[in-house]
């Protein structure tokens, strides 16, 4: 009766030959047929496109197949591999093509056969790489598809080792070990290629991107490893530190920064975000993706806190986010020094301050900061008393603080307070002194001292309508109008100058920053900082300038001081900017010399 039969060897041999057949015709078009599903993938090597074709009698995808009228038609979806514009446009917009893509990916991953054809392997590898980055941006539907696809394709050497990141069947240690060696070999080949091709300036973008992506995956893997270790694992911590430093180095030292920025943006992140993710990690704060068991709407809302409590938490939160229990990179002197400048160069003030405050001497910095502002407020108060803006307050003040008789004394005290502010910072926290003295602040001081003071004589001599009947001096102009008018005109002129200032600053800011909103915010905050610095000097120099200009008594007796402070400060900023912009390779915000 029955005898077992596996199959005839002849049949199998024939079948296997068909499978591994590797013919490239003259047109350079490859077809990958899924006969079970009446589904094809077409690779056009000349145009570097991959096309998914769903046939009309496809029983697995009736919805798609129903869109096809007859057997001659197919629902298709093409992806450009070389001229890939952006993920959203190429993958998502063209509905129902995205449905075809998702279904196709599922079909491809659910395949027991591996691809042996080199052209297919290359093309699908590139496509998977694109998709993996996109999935990183939209951590949802595509993530599962990418994982399945990557596991199906497997690893074939160092350039595809990043796929190990998705392989849960290996433990963290093994995966990290393999990724590290792969990255090492990639970086070696990259350096070699760089050396060989530097003369031609022919960068291998693909190799670089693979190196970046592998480094990115390695860091994320190490981080996941650390998070999974409940009681801490020295190996995991070491891996995290090593991978983080490695990643930071790539982010900081990559010669092709624009390329790197574009690469990261396509993956839904950016350079600064990545650096901040490493330096200020927020452990265990990442919300899990919504699932059936934890729907987003079911999450409890955090209790409403009072402003004071929020501020308190925020101040306490600084060490909690920076002085992480696992990775103390932000406390490392070299890292701090390097990335403090790095942040300032990008005008990321808050990140720079956060990094500095992660230091153990942050208490002294806070004291120094408070002392500085206290002295500045005292100085500003004396200035306000001198100009007599608040007569009610002047009335209750003791006689020796009266502005009319004691202006030299008050001015002297004001200058002393302001200088004391600087001295206190220098004495308590020299580090903070360096932070408060960026290049542009010195530039504005330079402008006040050199440009404005030296121009006083000429301004005093400057006469208008000299050939006319009544020639008049420019410095007398503010005497012809009221204080309010003087303030209005001064503000108008200052505004024009400030707009010019902001153009210069924006020019500097956009060198390292993308995005309209962040550019605007950083430009305005920088301008505000510079203007505050310039006003600091302006408060000191207002009275001497007024005296030198009018050759009058040493007292605030007219409204000349308003344009002097406002316009002078704006002009000082402008001059400072122009001076600083001469140093092309330096940012306006950068400190002079070693910052920390």
């Amino acid at each position: 009766m029955a005898v077992i039969a596996i199959n005839s060897a002849e049949f199998i041999t024939k079948s296997t030959e068909n499978m591994i057949e590797d013919r490239l015709n003259e047109f350079g078009i490859y077809r990958l047929r899924y006969p079970l599903k009446n589904f094809e993938i077409v690779l056009d090597t000349r145009r570097a496109t991959i096309t998914f074709e769903v046939g009309y009698d496809n029983e697995a995808w009736p919805n798609l197949a129903s869109q096809v009228a007859n057997s001659d038609q197919k629902a298709t979806f093409s992806i450009r591999l070389d001229k890939f514009k952006n993920f959203e446009e190429d993958l998502e917009v063209r509905h129902p093509s995205s449905t075809i893509l998702m279904s196709s990916l599922r079909r491809m991953a659910d395949n027991q056969e591996s691809i042996n054809n080199e052209a297919w392997r290359e093309a699908l590898g590139r496509f998977t790489f694109l998709l993996a980055r996109y999935a990183n941006k939209h951590n949802g539907t595509y993530h599962v598809a990418v994982k399945d696809l990557v596991l199906w394709m497997g690893v074939h050497g160092a350039s595809t080792a990043w796929r190990i990141f998705y392989d849960d069947s290996l433990n963290f240690e093994h995966r990290y070990d393999l990724l590290r060696s792969a990255q090492h070999s990639l970086s070696q080949s990259d350096t070699r290629a760089e050396r060989e091709k530097i003369a031609l300036d022919a960068p291998e973008q693909k190799e670089r991107q693979l190196l970046w992506w592998t480094t990115f995956c390695k860091y994320d893997l190490a981080r996941q490893w650390c998070e999974s270790e409940t009681y801490g694992n020295p190996a995991a911590r070491h891996a995290l530190r090593e991978s983080a430093l490695n990643y930071l180095q790539v982010l900081k030292d990559e010669a092709r920064q624009r390329d790197l920025r574009r690469f990261l943006t396509e993956g839904g992140t950016d350079l600064e975000h990545e650096v901040k993710r490493i330096l200020f990690p927020k452990w265990k704060e990442k919300l899990p993706p919504p699932s059936l068991f934890s729907p987003a709407r079911a999450r409890p809302k955090p209790p409403t806190r009072r402003l004071f409590q929020r501020l308190k938490d925020r101040i306490r939160g600084i060490p909690a986010t920076t002085a992480d229990r696992t990775l103390d990179l932000a406390k490392d002197e070299v890292i701090r020094r390097t990335f403090f400048v790095w942040f300032l160069k990008r005008y990321a003030w808050w990140s720079a301050v956060k990094l500095i405050l992660s230091d153990s001497k942050k208490d002294r910095m806070l004291i120094a900061g408070c002392t500085f502002f206290l002295f500045v407020i005292l100085g500003a108060g004396l200035y306000l008393i001198q100009i007599g803006e608040f007569p009610r307050i002047a009335r209750v003040l003791p006689p020796f603080l009266s502005a009319k008789e004691n202006t030299p004394f008050l001015w002297g005290m004001q200058v002393l307070f302001q200088l004391a502010a600087l001295i206190s910072v220098l004495a308590i926290a020299p580090l903070l002194f360096r932070l408060l003295m960026p290049r542009a602040l010195f530039g504005s001081l330079l402008a006040w001292c050199t440009v404005i003071f030296t121009a006083l004589r000429d301004v005093h001599e400057l006469r208008m309508d000299e050939g006319g009947e009544k020639p008049w001096h420019v410095w007398q102009l503010c005497h012809t109008c009221s204080d309010t008018q003087a303030l209005k005109y001064s503000l108008l002129i200052s505004l024009g100058i400030l707009i010019l200032d902001s153009i210069f600053i924006a020019y500097a800011v956009t060198q390292f920053t993308d995005g309209f909103l962040s550019t605007v915010v950083r430009t305005l905050s920088t301008l505000a900082g510079l203007l505050a610095g310039s006003l600091f000097w302006g408060l000191i120099f207002a009275l001497p300038i007024k005296v030198a200009l009018e050759r009058d008594v040493f007292r605030f007796d007219c409204s000349c001081v308003i344009p002097i402070v406002l316009i002078g400060a704006s002009i000082a900023v402008l001059f400072g900017l122009m001076v600083e912009l001469i140093w092309q390779d330096q940012s306006l915000a950068e400190p002079l010399g070693e910052p920390l």
Binding site: M1, A2, V3, I4, A5, I6, N7, S8, A9, F11, I12, S15, N18, M19, E21, D22, R23, L24, N25, F27, I29, Y30, R31, L32, R33, Y34, P35, L36, K37, F39, V42, E59, A60, R107, M108, D110, N111, Q112, E113, S114, I115, N116, N117, W120, G154, V155, H156, G157, A158, A161, I164, D167, S169, L170, N171, H174, D177, L178, S181, A182
Partner: protein, 527 residues
């Protein structure tokens, strides 16, 4: 003229176990859509006729033949040139230890998307020959015992009236009342969750090949609408007649299981020495007989508070093996250690300890759990620790005993009592035998994958280009046949390390220095 370079893919892996004409017809009919298993020369079995249940079971649970022993001159030559073979990866085991070279092996069914098996097979010869529903039983074992849920089982029904006729025959012999819908009830007994597909080869209408093709096309996800017969089926099973159905199912399964157990016994004996520990002599004897096919020479009586240890390793040297008795826990551990040492010298690759959990007697404060823990602790420093498997064999079915056993070092926990809900009711010793076979398979399979990986690392320059491909296929095979969740908890690390070795070949490629380091480390750890 073709204008493209075509390449077919996405085919399903299908195994057909049927008579040659039927199998060939199915393979040829589905040629475009499936990948057939690689052809391996079926071993000629002189003890069984091809096509019988016995022959089928030996193919399903195959035992590799022992390699021919090298002659004295060859051994001397080898000893001269390879004085310390363990230090080098050049000396890789040549013989396949696992059963993955046998495409029909039940352990490998996980590698397929579909297994198509004929329903009826002949058992015995001459006048004693009977027809048995081996296809149903084996499909049931794979799904409900091994837990291979992924592979779809399709049963080729060659005789639609077989189940009823067989049931009538059994009921006459055992004087059981035959339920009216006995065929459906039996089907429900073998496949209570309706996981199998049945293709009636004699049915009119659509051809069987077309129906199989439809199944393959839809991944076996055919819409199953509830019919009136389904409702009846559930109602009948809840009635008092279900007892009769259970008896008939047992009788239905028994001849096939007997043959399967013979094959499994051979498989386990080929791979491992088994040491059994029990405080009940009768149970010990029964277990030992089931595992080895031999009876123990029992002492006239056993002292109160003694625990007996029997080892299959003494079978070869003694005509009728005896038992060792221990009165204290310390003695028990020493006896077990001695038995392990004897087993290691016996030449088998693995030593498996089967132990009861609770020991009777006022002096016994320790239990089988302590024995498991102590053995694991002692073995931790031993060089052959990874070649030891421990199975807890107990009548206790509480989850706490199971959990405690696993945590202290048991690979598996098997119940002594007859169990069967969704799966078939099966004796505890039968389950034990299958568990031991599965444990042997897991260990030998992992070892074989590492051995193959070593072969790839040592491949010559001309072969290196394909080493990555082979490694990738090996890794895929490993994950399909032995998924992580199916591996014993105490083999998890070994499984992970094996995956790592194969993945390292994929990453490092031909960098032999790095790979050799990894291979030697893992090899030294497990092999």
């Amino acid at each position: 003229m073709t204008n493209s370079a075509d390449h077919s893919t996405g085919k399903k892996k299908v195994l057909v176990i049927a008579n040659p004409e039927l199998a060939s017809a199915i393979y040829e009919g589905l040629n475009k859509y499936i990948i057939a298993p690689a052809a391996v020369d079926a071993e000629t079995d002189v003890d069984a006729d091809p096509g019988t249940v016995s022959w089928l079971c030996r193919q399903i649970f195959p035992s590799p033949k022992d390699p021919p022993k090298p002659h004295a001159l060859g051994r001397a030559w080898k000893a001269l040139w390879h004085p310390n073979p363990e230090d080098s990866i050049e000396t890789l085991p040549a013989q396949s230890l696992g059963s993955i070279n046998f495409p029909m092996s039940l352990f490998n069914w996980g590698a397929y998307d579909f297994v198509i098996i004929q329903d009826v097979w002949q058992s015995g010869n001459g006048d004693a020959a009977t027809m048995e529903g081996a296809g149903y039983v084996l499909a049931n074992l794979d799904y409900y015992l091994w837990g291979n849920f992924k592979t779809k089982k399709i049963i080729l029904v060659t005789d639609p009236g077989f189940l009823r006729r067989k049931a009538e025959w059994i009921s006459r012999r055992r004087q059981l009342l035959l339920p009216p819908e006995v065929e459906k009830d039996l089907l429900a007994a073998f496949d209570s969750k309706q996981a199998f597909e049945r293709i009636d080869l004699t049915a009119a209408g659509t051809s069987p090949i077309q129906r199989i093709k439809e199944l393959v096309l839809t991944d076996g996800d055919q819409t199953h609408t509830e019919t009136e017969s389904d409702t009846n089926q559930r109602r009948l099973l809840q009635s008092s007649e279900s007892h009769n159905i259970s008896k008939i199912a047992d009788a239905f399964m028994h001849p096939v299981m007997e043959e399967a157990l013979i094959a499994l016994r051979s498989y386990v004996r080929h791979h491992a020495e088994v040491i059994v520990v029990d405080d009940e002599l009768a149970e010990l004897n029964g277990t030992f007989a089931q595992l080895t096919g031999e009876r123990l020479k029992l002492p006239p009586k056993m002292g109160l508070g003694s625990v007996a240890v029997a080892s299959a390793s003494r079978l070869a040297s003694v005509s009728r093996p005896t038992v060792n008795q221990a009165n204290t826990f310390g003695d028990l551990v020493k006896i077990c250690a001695q038995e392990f040492n004897d087993a290691a010298e016996g030449g088998k690759r693995y030593a498996l300890l089967v132990t009861d959990i609770l020991f009777r007697g006022p002096n016994w404060h320790q239990t089988g759990l302590d024995l498991i823990e102590t053995v694991r602790d002692e073995l931790r420093a031993a060089p052959n620790a990874r070649r030891v498997g421990i199975v807890a064999f107990t009548a206790f079915t509480t989850p706490f005993i199971g959990m405690s056993s696993y945590q202290r070092g048991a690979d598996f926990v098997v119940s002594k009592t007859e169990l069967g809900g969704h799966d078939l009711k099966m004796r505890g010793t039968d389950r034990l035998m299958m568990t031991l076979a599965f444990l042997c398979f897991q260990k030998s399979f992992l070892s074989e994958q590492r051995s193959k990986a070593g072969g790839l690392i040592m491949s010559t320059n001309s072969q290196r280009s394909k080493a990555k491909e082979k490694s990738f296929e090996l890794l895929r095979q490993l994950r399909r046949i032995l998924p992580k969740h199916a591996v014993s908890m105490h083999l998890h690390q070994e499984w992970l390390d094996t995956c790592y070795l194969l993945e390292a070949i994929n990453v490092y490629g031909c960098d032999r220095d790095q790979l050799s380091g990894i291979y030697n480390e893992i090899n030294g750890k497990y092999d």
